[in-house]
């Protein structure tokens, strides 16, 4: 799928045969996935199936046991030090729990990447922080500490922190979980507009199928350590795969719960 402004189809993120276990808990077992530049891929799957673990491999926080992750042609697992940090500054990640730095205030959190790496004047950093917060619908909380925020606000500040460095790739781990439906929809709109206007490549992990259909160019389902189905929202919606059918319709009975 070609977006206006992108004249070639380039694979931005490629995961090949990824394996990962913790002790004897096999989490990823030969997972492969390709994501085209400028598109949004939604990952769905049951709780505990390894979605967050997958995102951490893409960021290079976890190292694969086997297999590779390529970002823009570079293998993440082989990068170190300065190169890895340079690549990470092209990516933003919204953690499932927010992961805000609780020793810094909201402005310090959102502007962290800029303050540490881009040598911008203080005023410009502050402007960008304000803009990023405005994008997620927050105003006038720059001086607050993370402990003074509600759960949904934390999530949005985390989102603002990820977009503040203007990344080319954004990984969202359940960005709309735990926020009210109106905010959730505005977050979806934001993801959509980053995609349309800035051609950001995104991966969104979500349990909310309505959001998934709305924001995804592609939906991939993770089950048993592999991607068992991927396709456009319509293809997934009309999928004959019994696992996909059970999941997207939220049925208690089906092949997923039988094993």
């Amino acid at each position: 799928m070609l977006r206006p402004g992108l004249d070639k189809i380039i694979t931005m993120i490629e995961i090949k045969n990824l394996h990962k276990s913790f002790a004897d808990n096999k989490v990823l077992d030969g997972l492969s996935l390709k994501i085209t530049e400028g598109t949004t891929c939604v990952i769905i799957g049951r709780s505990g199936c390894g979605k967050s673990v997958l995102l951490k491999h893409i960021e290079g926080i976890l190292r694969p046991e086997n297999g590779e992750v390529f970002i823009d042609g570079k293998e993440v697992g082989k990068l170190k030090g300065v190169d890895l940090n340079a690549l990470r500054m092209r990516m933003g990640m919204v953690f499932q729990g927010g992961a805000l730095f609780d020793s810094l205030n909201v402005a310090g959190n959102v502007g962290f990447g800029l303050i540490e790496h881009k040598h911008l004047p203080e005023k410009e950093v502050f402007e960008r922080v304000k803009d990023s917060l405005a994008l997620v619908g927050l105003r006038g909380i720059e001086e607050k500490m993370p402990s003074e925020l509600s759960g949904g606000m934390k999530k949005r500040v985390a989102l603002a922190r990820a977009i503040c460095i203007k990344p080319e790739i954004i990984l969202y781990d359940e960005p709309t979980t735990g926020v009210d439906p109106i905010t959730a929809d505005s977050i979806n709109e934001l993801i959509r507009s980053l995609h349309d206007k800035l051609k950001v490549t995104s991966i969104v992990v979500t349990h909310d199928m309505r959001s998934a259909y709305k924001i995804g160019d592609k939906i991939a389902m993770l089950y048993d350590g592999k991607i068992i189905a991927e396709g456009s929202p319509e293809e997934i919606q009309n999928s004959k795969n019994p696992y996909v059918y059970q999941f997207i319709n939220g049925l208690a009975k089906g092949p997923i719960t039988e094993n």
Partner: protein, 261 residues
């Protein structure tokens, strides 16, 4: 039964080796990153304040009591042999060479080391350390380096201060309780102290500072399993720091005994 015991022993030894490997790896990285730019002096000063300046009250209190206690305990014997005057030199030497450095290090390990482990540990369990990495920031550079530099600077300073307070405590007892004249006490104290006493006492505290910093950061980074894990790591961190400080002290004492006879 015996094989079970051996397996248990084996896993303990493995855990110990793993710990030593991890700790020296962290120390190595800390040194390397500590000496490569960019240098963030602001964060070092912030940590120096948190770890050092804020420890002055508790160190004062403890050093003062140690001074009192030590003067009284030595007085017991010195009075028997009728040489009260030498309480001053005995106190000066033991405080400057041994008690000041070690007591200060143990107090700081308990107060600051535990706090560092708890802070870094909760950052670990809430994925803040991962978040640092995703923002292109090396957690060792950002978190460990300022703490290690601050502690290895502040611990010698705190020790000098503790030495002075400890000697002052003993001075109070000797002058007001045992009737030694103030001038006499001062003269005997300064006669007893040589430069090498001060040097050997302070030199090792730089290493004590590093031990506290690296052990507490290492334990914090390796927390597993939520709030309970943070508690466990904190306990571990303090105990390990204590053991390593005493072991290092023993090593340095032996070393200096042969270098500066």
């Amino acid at each position: 039964m015996i094989s079970q015991l051996l397996i248990k022993l084996g896993s303990k030894v493995m855990a110990l080796l793993y710990f030593c490997g991890g700790l020296s790896n962290l120390a190595f990285q800390g040194f390397y990153l500590g000496f490569t730019p960019p240098f963030k002096t602001g964060r070092i000063i912030e940590q120096a304040k948190k770890t050092g300046i804020d420890s002055f009250p508790i160190v004062s209190l403890i050093a003062l009591f140690i001074g009192f206690i030590f003067a009284l305990q030595t007085a017991y014997f010195m009075q028997r042999i009728g040489s009260e005057l030498y309480i001053a030199s005995l106190v000066a030497l033991s405080v400057v060479r041994e008690l000041g450095p070690v007591i200060t290090a143990l107090v700081v390990a308990g107060r600051v080391g535990a706090a560092i482990t708890a802070e870094l540990g909760s950052m670990q369990v809430t994925e803040q350390i991962d978040a640092l990495e995703t923002l292109g920031t090396n957690p060792v550079k950002y978190l460990v380096v300022p703490r290690f530099i601050a502690l290895s600077f502040m611990l010698p300073l705190l020790t000098i201060y503790a030495d002075a307070i400890g000697i002052f405590g003993s001075y109070l007892i000797c002058v007001f309780k045992l009737g030694i004249s103030s001038a006499m006490y001062m003269r005997v104290t300064f006669e007893a102290l040589l430069f090498k006493d001060l040097f050997t006492g302070l030199f090792k505290t730089i290493f004590f500072g590093m031990i506290i910093a690296f052990v507490s950061c290492y334990e914090g980074f390796n927390v597993e399993g939520g709030a309970e894990g943070v508690g466990k790591a904190t306990r571990h961190s303090v105990v390990t720091s204590f053991i390593l400080i005493i072991a290092a002290d023993c090593f340095f004492t032996a070393l200096f005994y042969f270098i500066f006879p």
